[in-house]
Point group: D2
Chain length 179, copies 4
Amino acid sequence: MSTVGTPDRNSGWLSEDDLAEARRRLPLLYVEAVPVRVDGLGRVTEVGTLLRAADGSISRTIVSGRVLHGETLRDALFRHLEKDLGPMAFPQLPASPVPFHVAEYFPWPTEGGFLDTRQHAVALAYVVPVTGTCEPRQDALEVTWLRPEEAASEELAREMEGGRGVLLRAALASAGRLP
Amino acid sequence: MSTVGTPDRNSGWLSEDDLAEARRRLPLLYVEAVPVRVDGLGRVTEVGTLLRAADGSISRTIVSGRVLHGETLRDALFRHLEKDLGPMAFPQLPASPVPFHVAEYFPWPTEGGFLDTRQHAVALAYVVPVTGTCEPRQDALEVTWLRPEEAASEELAREMEGGRGVLLRAALASAGRLP
Amino acid sequence: MSTVGTPDRNSGWLSEDDLAEARRRLPLLYVEAVPVRVDGLGRVTEVGTLLRAADGSISRTIVSGRVLHGETLRDALFRHLEKDLGPMAFPQLPASPVPFHVAEYFPWPTEGGFLDTRQHAVALAYVVPVTGTCEPRQDALEVTWLRPEEAASEELAREMEGGRGVLLRAALASAGRLP
Amino acid sequence: MSTVGTPDRNSGWLSEDDLAEARRRLPLLYVEAVPVRVDGLGRVTEVGTLLRAADGSISRTIVSGRVLHGETLRDALFRHLEKDLGPMAFPQLPASPVPFHVAEYFPWPTEGGFLDTRQHAVALAYVVPVTGTCEPRQDALEVTWLRPEEAASEELAREMEGGRGVLLRAALASAGRLP
């Protein structure tokens, strides 16, 4: 289904050292997805967050990952959705490539509020309805589905990695579901 | 599935005379939908147009209709999609209520290029993927599926009612598929 | 500066009785604007709200008004900005006619949260930077400029007419300034 | 006016060799701007293109440049606008960080139509009204202002570098000015 053929993972592949070097020199391009459940009229009814265990602590995040050299944004988005939600999630990628938000993560605190201690990353964020069954893989423990009011709460915002509570609220705002 | 209950069709109902009067006094609110087919990555592959026979001539249009008093935009959009494409089209309404374009139709020629000799109408226009089978009803003769290049052509633009060729191009632009 | 000539205020004019009748039969089309101050890079630094005294109580709102028959959305937006902020506000209307949000006001409580006891109104809402001096006219007492954190607060939301606190937050989200 | 302080140009600086290496390994992040003139109601009246002489041939492009490590999108956009249009252009950066389009440039031909033989670049593209005087610097020969119909023409599209004719049309579509 790729639109430009398989990304060239050889040339796109970076050793740990090279990636560490690139992270000090360039902003890295990410795609992020807020998984949602919708009703028959397309209205968002629930928002999904991923519970993660990392470094001995528990935190929440959304679908997120790097765009590889030679990879389209759609291919990257689909690849990370499958990696984080499993092969049976059946995500409906948006017709438009324009994100609902562009999140700028810096390794230092900024007014924007997004933080990534590893790197300067710019993430194109999308709302993606999923119609199937989510089976989180890799380091995600589970997908938790929340009502819009819960997803917009201060309490949840404190649990979200890197300031992504704001991203959940912006996602709800774009869907007309901000409480 | 209505979000505010059944629209109050009694109070919303207008006699032909009342509607004619309202059309002379107020801009009428419309919703319009460009039906599309998408691939597994959400990319638009085909654009649907409705072939109509009216007043002895043939023309093309998209899904279009009035919003009733008490009716939500989603309910109106779903109602007109079902009316024009049949009950088995299975449209996927967008999560966001923000249209890709707002088309302003006037009964006289304007720079915007949209014309509706009956009235001043303002239409919120959406791109809507349909996953089922379209069986046009009412006065629509058939749904024709076109590749993006065909949908954006000058030739097709001339067949579209009320200047809606521009709307097809704006829909393609919003989907990153303008040739 | 009108794009279609002066709206036809004769045919567009409605007697109080006719307007009351239309309000019971049709959704009315509105434009709304959230006035903002921006810095040299276009970043929103302050959000304006209008303090109003009506029916003996004080409330807050944003720029809001009906679109007349024959009037473009831009003309309506400019007219209401001038009416509410005075002739020296120098608003910068957006290049795009696509609103950041579509607010659906019903005369009864709905999930969307927007309420207008007089009518069913659908408002296209825009963020509009103003660069001049605001001198509220008509029934507006004053324009209050708030920092993004204040504009997004629960406290302010309670003072906003018709549920427009949500609209302020959606405006901030669209500007990447939601706290 | 920077929101995160001066970008760290030491760590962000890349030798020619390092940049060449990065270009083979990572998608590079760009910002692009379509400069426009607007009337008093914010309507786009003219679109600016940059005439360039490179490698002995003449071509047209828009404002375009890389985002540096540690630099915000706004800072990068402002920096490239100043570099390409001069210090007296007085650009009005949009309140929203969401681009009207995301252009994916690959070093090989793709369906999207954007081509950059040097690299895989992803560009966030914005429509930016300029109110002052443009004095192109560096390798740009001049800024040419075109009416919307000219900017959308096939003829102009053939002169635009890297497939950016589509980007001009998408910019016009987002501004409601596609002919």
